[in-house]
Symmetry: C2
Subunit: 417 residues, 2 copies
């Protein structure tokens, strides 16, 4: 079954914003086994909207439309859809009006005609509540095919999609489907695919494997299971396959589904009741930021010293000044002392330290841009490793951060064994 | 003049990657005065590609195509375009073959048939060198209209666009155009537009104003100047208009074009020869990361203490333990001491400190999720301010970081006056 995602609004066309809505919608449709045939972004133009819907209905059963539902004059999606689907009239949708009233009240504004009109919907649509905004969503039927129109504000759209996905499954009587993702780090995609080719070739036909590579989070392997007897059976089958995969990929597997390198490492630390600190030079706080962006980070993370100046490396982290002079700040000697020093200074059990030349300036023949030393200190030992990454500052910072977290993760696993 | 951007490849349709290529292309076309009529994402399917090109040529003069130029079997864009534009044969493009050979040599791999085929192009296209990858770009002419096909790897595409934009300007004899962007922070878009409405209404017709709002970087105001006598005249006109705008918006203006809050603040610090440190609790290193993501950060930034645990606030930053107990870690008393403490600990002249409840847990009736205290310490005084932001952890972290940098920026300006 095919779907098309149509995004309406100028912001996308002038390159002002990155369209993450259609990514989310495509992912959600994909998860229930629907193929996204095309994505289209168009402006708030009546003829263009109508032509696009006409064209999309030829190839797709499901049209997901976002944007153009705001209260201003340039937003015309609702009117055009009313016309397209032959609405008799516009009708106030009382539950939506209630939400509008509540939102307006909270802002201490008096309810205007414009506000009320937000809750007016074509009489030929099935209204879908927008609990987080003033523009309700609409479901239109047409010869067994459907069009769903949603507001373009990402968090409003996402909450609505939660309700729409089950409606789509019911309407099209979709078969049960189950997904699970295994997260790996440290093995390039091409090597990974060779390693698991025998396992992959023996997968039963109703289990589909997808490779989802990402330079910062490694390669994710997703199995989608279709046509099973029950969700439970599918779940058991996928779990059994992933169990085999884990024996092949071993410690390269760091988690499942929504885990990330920071949460995976955090879990291992929590199992030990241990606390982590970071000492960051070239990564400039990026590792701390990656850790703290997850809620509950305080259970295993005490904090970080971003030691951008050599003075802080010496004074706060206790790095030997002579070593900085002799070997340079980007050296094995210094990064090891940074890791040990931050453990002591912040009273942590484990530490990560980074020192490198992020670029674009500061490279030399001996230490080109992209040279990074990473150290991990544990209660038992300190390990350090040199990497030559890229010429690009942002790539160097994010890759060094991911590698550093993964180094700690592998060390924590090795200790366990 | 209209353009359409066509993205070919499954990654976009399954929601695996966020499409930033089309954002960049749209922005670049917009900057030379070309209207992007539609963006379309389709799969590697011959019929679908041909239908989309046919449809796009009806409404647009310029078709920008990315993706599907790789060496694997699923990449068919080059073959389909050769067929579509009636190529006589495929011909090796020698300068591209040289690049392929060099890239392969660097990887220590022997040159394969597949590698050589990457440098083969339809004889009816104008080749465009891809200096950073193995797939060259192609320019096709058709009744005065054009199609440009580029590889989908973002940094390869961007380098190619640098060459393509002047070719488009020349081909369509585009009039000279000039852009400049003024960056503002702290005034909401609706208030801003009222403040400058008189100025905006008096803008000469050939100067176009665009509002580009972004929650993390404020509202950017871009003037595009068309139809001028010369680039120099346009530049002078825009500069004069922005000079007036600066007198209206005063210190809300923090920079131009590619500046950001961190670089703008850094410039002010450098003018004083002063160094900055940050003490971050709820922002968890995000401010340090924002600063260090700009090259040259070390000229005004010594480092940061990410004080996630109270212990570090007390031991490393010298916050009074009794105050933490009495007022809580999220309080004016504590955040002020954090700012002063990090100045002392890291030997900095200025400091920013944050302490708040990022969420989703940890909120109370008195201090709900989103409560953030921010302090700025200068050689003369310490100021502190409370904000109630949102319920979302990532929004709270990034907004608190931007507000904190802006607080410091305003304080630095006030000192100057």
């Amino acid at each position: 079954m095919n779907a098309e995602i149509i995004t309406i609004g100028d912001e996308i066309l002038i390159g002002q914003i990155v369209d993450t809505n259609s990514v989310y919608i495509a992912e959600q449709l994909n998860l229930i086994g629907i193929n996204v045939y095309q994505k289209t972004a168009i402006s708030d133009n009546r003829r263009h909207i109508i032509e696009s819907i006409d064209r999309a209905f030829v190839t797709s059963d499901i049209l997901m439309v976002t944007g153009g539902l705001g209260p201003t004059n340039d937003d015309i999606t609702k009117q055009v859809l009313a016309e397209y689907f032959g609405a008799g009239c516009m009708k106030i949708h009382e539950p939506s009006l209630e939400i509008v009233k509540n939102l307006i009240q909270r802002l201490n504004i008096t309810l205007s005609e414009t506000n009320i009109r937000q809750a007016e919907l074509p009489d030929c649509c099935i209204p879908i509540l927008n609990k987080n905004g003033t523009a309700p969503a609409m479901w239109f039927n047409r010869n067994g095919k459907i069009l769903v129109a949603m507001p373009g504000v990402p968090f409003e759209m996402k909450a609505i999609m939660n309700d729409v996905i089950p409606m789509i499954c019911k309407h099209f009587k979709l078969k049960s489907i189950y997904h699970k993702t295994l997260l790996t780090y440290g093995i390039p995609e091409s090597v990974l695919s060779e390693k698991i080719s025998e396992w992959e070739n023996n997968l039963p036909k109703h289990l589909h494997l997808a490779y989802l590579p990402n330079p910062e989070s490694g390669v994710r392997l997703r199995i989608s299971a279709y046509n099973g007897e029950s969700k439970q059976t599918l779940e058991q089958e996928v779990d059994a396959q992933f169990a085999t995969l884990r024996t092949i990929l071993k410690t390269a597997v760091y988690g499942e589904n929504n885990d990330n390198l920071a949460t995976a490492t955090g879990k291992l630390l929590q199992q030990k009741g241990a606390m982590l600190a970071t000492a960051e030079s070239c990564t400039g706080g990026h590792i701390a930021d990656m850790i703290c962006s997850n809620s509950g980070a305080s259970k295993c993370f005490v904090g970080s010293v971003v030691a951008y100046s050599n003075n802080i490396k010496i004074k706060t982290l206790g790095v030997n000044a002579t070593d900085i002079e002799m070997y340079g700040a980007v050296s094995e000697q210094v990064v090891r002392q940074m890791a040990q020093g931050v453990c002591k200074a912040l009273n942590a059990d484990y530490a990560i330290a980074t020192s490198g030349i992020a670029g674009p300036d500061g490279g030399t023949a001996e230490k080109p841009v992209g040279t990074v030393w990473i150290a991990v200190a544990t209660p038992k030992r300190v390990i350090a490793q040199k990497y030559i990454l890229s010429k690009l500052r942002d790539v160097n910072i994010s890759r060094a951060s991911a590698i550093a977290l993964n180094m700690l993760r592998l060390e924590l696993i090795e200790e366990k064994d």
